[in-house]
């Protein structure tokens, strides 16, 4: 019987009322009296030297307040990188400067050259056109391997080459891995591209800087997933503003998918300019600007090799990946192809020996950073594609080959550093076979073939590391921040509760799910609990939302704080009932003395805390408010099995996704409806990557070619099927108090390989000797592959 409130209930998303009725308060809805508007003049060449920049004519244009250039930011810090990777030889990565406005050179199409602040957005745009920028175009490096070739043009003149780092993991295992390959009975090799994507949240980025002369306080309103991270990075490293004089507010945010984690130049600019001009400065990104200024995702070129013994056991895995960093290091870019990717290469399998090599490369393209899944989709894609290819080469069932190699005993120490605490991969595969009706596939294929279509079935597993992260561990790995989170539970006098959380909700439904947890613990109605997030002046120092961490990390902090509330409330209740604290029980919002009929209600206790007339003042303080910080002891490891069925039109190469099934183990579930919604969204993005989306650059000139929805194909409703989603196979996380694992990225991580596997299966069923097609599998690519 499904619950109707508390943990496990599909409570309707309360925030949707304002989102769906146009009552949301997004950053662009905020207008501050006297605000000016900024327009950024951006480079339209990929690489060039700024010969001269004449702003005099533009400055004389109507409404122009001031024009800023790179010269105004000399002496101001550049945008910092939050993660330092150490290379195979023990050396730190190459870390170039990242100025707020270009200084000396432009390094990608979209690199901001100058900023025009004017009375209206139109005046700012018009004046930007009047800036005379003479830029000597330099050869652009776009292809990663060409960028590493001898004599290639350098993105950063002060670095020895375009190599950011050459990372080996685990370097000490390299010899043993090579030896295992030499002894293998079978080796399957696959070269593949993980296509560059643009995140495309529905709401483009916006920033408003405001400066209060009376108090000397700066405020930044911004579209961020983590206001405290922005305050820390911008305050300490870019602008030198102490925390107590800098407030960062991220109000309603319309999607992020990772692209709103990072600290961007426009945020620093608006905060800087607001102080310089002593008036608010607002920037609203256009969709075109978003394509060339939001951090992009993925863009890996990989070779993966899988070694098997004569019994088809995986004996070793070896990969070589080129990872595109773009022109500058975005905030967490170096961590994505390394610690969020190499540590997941074991997948769901007990492969004993693994070696991962990653070369991160600077190119004249938009910086690349985390995008829904961040490193884990790239790992999953390689692994699940090479396993599928191996099964086809060996003539064995792809599901059976996977099952044979599953990790089955937990905790499991992988050869790539991480320890899986719990899981049951056979259970999710059993569930998948059931919900995907794998047994009925042959009949569906026959039916498709009768209509002249090829039908294919693709299956894959995935595992991800979520709940980032144990601070002491990520500190050793190069993170320049702790990754705990925090919550303050403020019980009001009448018993209602405000919970201030470090996590940020930008589509995840925290405002609904988090109260369910507190309501369950206290036995009170969810509607009495409100979540406050997104304003650094209101919430405790938390690290925000990414890596499917909110419930596992911030939710755990909220549980700890609520436990403190319960302990104190029991003391108050014991005093009110003249009983021993040890005998007090809390159930359904009533405190009772065990073994008696004495009880006081939740509201009596909270009122006593704030009106302490009859109160143990000698033992405890008045008030009922507690804060907890929670630092996890391990990552969480959501895992699952996905199946995709496609039809391919042999005449045109058009792929249609007919069925998609997802069996996930997310541990305990707080709100099943929200979890299903998260999976649905992730699947949409994964299918989009597999079939439609591609961020294209001209390989010679570095011009961005896909910067509108005419050329960048987002998935639409008719591109995806009705999904079969199940998360009943739950092995609760062993180390956080809720037993939750995180569900936000799974769909995007787990779906691309099964789509590709299904297309290959369809083509091979039609007698085509096709073993791989790179994403996106557009009709032209599929058709060309079919022609041999």
């Amino acid at each position: 019987m499904p619950k109707d409130s508390g943990i496990g209930a599909s409570s309707k998303r309360r925030e949707d009322v304002r989102f769906l009725t146009g009552a949301g308060n997004y950053t662009d809805d905020i207008n501050i009296h006297g605000q000016a508007y900024v327009h950024f003049l951006r480079s339209d060449v990929a690489h060039g030297r700024i010969v001269s920049l004449d702003t005099s004519a533009a400055a004389a244009m109507p409404g122009v307040v001031r024009i800023f250039t790179g010269a105004d930011f000399e002496g101001v810090g550049g945008l910092p990188c939050g993660w330092q990777v150490t290379d195979r030889h023990g050396q730190p990565m190459a870390e170039p400067g990242h100025p707020v406005l270009a200084q000396g050179k432009v390094r990608h199409v979209g690199d901001p050259i100058a900023a025009v602040v004017a009375e209206s957005p139109e005046q700012a745009r018009d004046a930007a056109e009047a800036i005379e920028a003479e830029i000597e175009e330099l050869p652009a490096v776009i292809d990663m391997k060409a960028a590493l070739a001898e004599g290639a043009a350098k993105v950063h003149d002060d670095l020895p080459s375009n190599l950011c780092y050459d990372w080996g993991f685990v370097e000490e295992n390299k010899g043993a891995v090579d030896a295992a390959f030499a002894e293998a009975a079978h080796v399957t090799t696959l070269e593949l591209v993980n296509n560059r994507l643009v995140a495309n949240p529905m709401e483009p980025r916006v920033a408003i800087g405001d400066y209060a002369r009376a108090t000397g306080e700066s405020t930044l309103y911004t579209t961020s997933q983590n206001p405290h991270v922005i305050r820390l990075l911008m305050g300490a490293f870019v602008l030198g503003i102490p925390e107590h004089k800098l407030r960062v507010v991220a109000p309603d945010v319309g999607g992020g998918f990772g692209s709103k984690i990072f600290h961007y130049a426009e945020e620093a600019f608006c905060t800087f300019a607001a102080k310089a001009l002593a008036r608010p400065v607002k920037w609203t990104s256009s969709r075109s600007e978003a394509f060339m200024s939001d951090a992009h995702g993925r863009d890996h070129v990989s070779k993966i090799e899988l070694a098997l013994d004569a019994d088809n056991n995986f004996t070793a895995l070896r990969t070589e990946t080129y990872a595109n960093m773009g022109a500058y290091l975005s905030t967490f870019a170096p961590s994505v192809p390394t610690w969020l990717h190499g540590t997941l290469m074991a997948g769901n399998y007990k492969t004993p020996l693994i070696y991962v090599n990653v070369k991160a490369v600077f190119t004249n393209t938009v910086p690349v950073d985390a995008y829904r899944g961040a490193g884990r989709p790239e790992a999953t894609y390689q692994l699940e594609r090479v396993i599928d290819k191996a099964a086809r080469e060996l003539g064995v069932d792809p599901i059976a080959l996977r099952r044979q190699n599953f990790v089955t005993e937990f905790p499991y120490q992988t050869p790539v550093a991480v320890v899986y605490d719990t899981g049951d991969y056979n259970a999710t595969m059993d569930k998948l076979e059931e919900i995907a009706d794998i047994a009925g596939f042959a009949a569906r294929r026959a039916e498709s073939e009768a209509r002249g279509k090829l039908r294919g079935l693709g299956v894959n597993c995935y595992i991800e590391a979520c709940g980032i992260a144990p601070s002491n561990l990520v500190g050793q790995l190069g993170a320049r921040a702790g990754l705990y989170d925090a919550a303050t539970v403020r019980v009001n006098a009448t018993g209602s509760i405000s919970v201030m959380v470090g996590a940020h909700s930008h589509g995840q439904g925290h405002e609904t799910a988090f109260p369910q947890v507190v309501a369950e613990m206290l036995g009170i109605d969810e509607s009495m609990i409100e979540i406050v997030h997104g304003d650094s002046s209101k919430i405790p120092f938390g690290m925000g939302t990414y890596g499917s961490r909110s419930l596992a990390v911030c939710g755990s902090a909220m549980v700890r704080a609520t436990e403190k509330i319960i302990n104190k409330a029991k003391k108050i209740a014991a005093h009110l009932m003249e009983a021993s604290e040890a005998d007090i029980e809390l159930k359904d919002g009533q405190f009772s003395v065990a073994g008696t009929d004495k009880s006081v209600a939740w509201g009596d206790v909270t009122l006593a805390a704030y009106v302490p007339h009859n109160y143990p003042l000698e033992d405890i303080e008045p008030g009922l408010e507690e804060t907890a910080f929670y630092d996890p002891s391990n990552f969480t490891y959501p895992a699952g099995a996905y199946a995709c069925e496609v039809e391919v039109d042999p005449e045109t190469g058009k792929v249609t996704v007919e069925r998609f099934s997802a069996a996930d183990d997310f541990g305990n579930i707080v709100n099943p409806m929200i979890v299903s919604g998260q999976v649905h969204g992730g699947l949409g993005q994964g299918i989009g990557q597999a079939l439609l989306e591609n961020c294209a650059y001209d390989p010679e000139t570095g011009q961005l070619l896909s910067a509108s929805y005419m050329d960048y194909a987002m998935p639409r409703a008719d591109d995806v099927p009705f999904y079969a989603v199940d998360h009943s196979c739950a092995t609760p996380c062993t180390h956080n108090p809720l037993g939750v694992k995180g569900c936000g990225e799974a769909g995007a991580i787990g779906s691309p390989p099964s789509v590709v596997n299904a297309v290959i299966d369809a083509l091979q069923s039609g007698g085509k000797a096709v073993t791989h097609i790179d994403m996106p599998m557009s009709p032209s690519r599929v058709w060309s592959a079919m022609q041999g």
Binding site: D44, V45, V109, A128, A696, A707, D711
Partner: protein
């Protein structure tokens, strides 16, 4: 992108050559040209209004002539800046060869590049656009020298000879 083509023009090579160096001819032939000034030695300044897919812009830029071997070959190199629309630049290598009956065979190879918003929004259509631009340019160039293309049918017989001649030929032949 690159494209090449050739046209047979009913005029001798010297006439065609002279026309290629004339700012007035170029103004008439460059599609969307609003202004054209300058000369063959120092280069030309031009203002061109064009619409590429969804992007309409005024391009300001220059055209220079180089590799001039009269009356055989030259290279026209141009670059136009369209403000927020981005930029377009290109080069046309033109060769003139004597054809039959006093005609000239004009062959050209065009290489064009676009950047900024033009590339971001128009990359799918830019090849077709450049082809159309080049085709319009050389078709008009032919018309300037020869007069409008003759329609089929007997009426053309009665067309006034002077009218049939292109204006450039009329001017230079007095």
């Amino acid at each position: 992108m690159e494209l090449s083509d050739s046209k047979v023009i009913a005029a001798d090579r010297e006439t065609v050559w002279e026309a290629l160096l004339s700012p007035d001819v170029l103004k008439d032939c460059v599609p969307g040209c609003q202004e054209m000034s300058g000369n063959a030695e120092d280069g030309f300044e031009a203002t061109v209004v064009q619409k590429v897919g969804p992007v309409k812009a005024t391009f300001k830029g220059g055209v220079t002539l180089s590799d001039m071997v009269a009356p055989e070959s030259l290279t026209l190199t141009g670059e136009g800046k369209g403000g927020a629309a981005g930029f377009a630049k290109g080069a046309a290598r033109v060769r003139l060869e004597a054809g039959e009956d006093g005609t000239t065979v004009l062959s050209y190879e065009v290489e064009a590049k676009v950047g900024g918003k033009l590339a971001q929004l128009g990359s799918r259509i830019i090849d077709g656009f450049a082809r159309k631009m080049a085709d319009q340019f050389f078709t008009r160039f032919q018309e300037v020298l020869e007069g409008p293309a003759e329609a089929d049918g007997p009426e053309t017989e009665t067309t006034d000879d002077a009218k049939k001649k292109g204006w450039f030929k009329r001017v230079i032949s007095g």
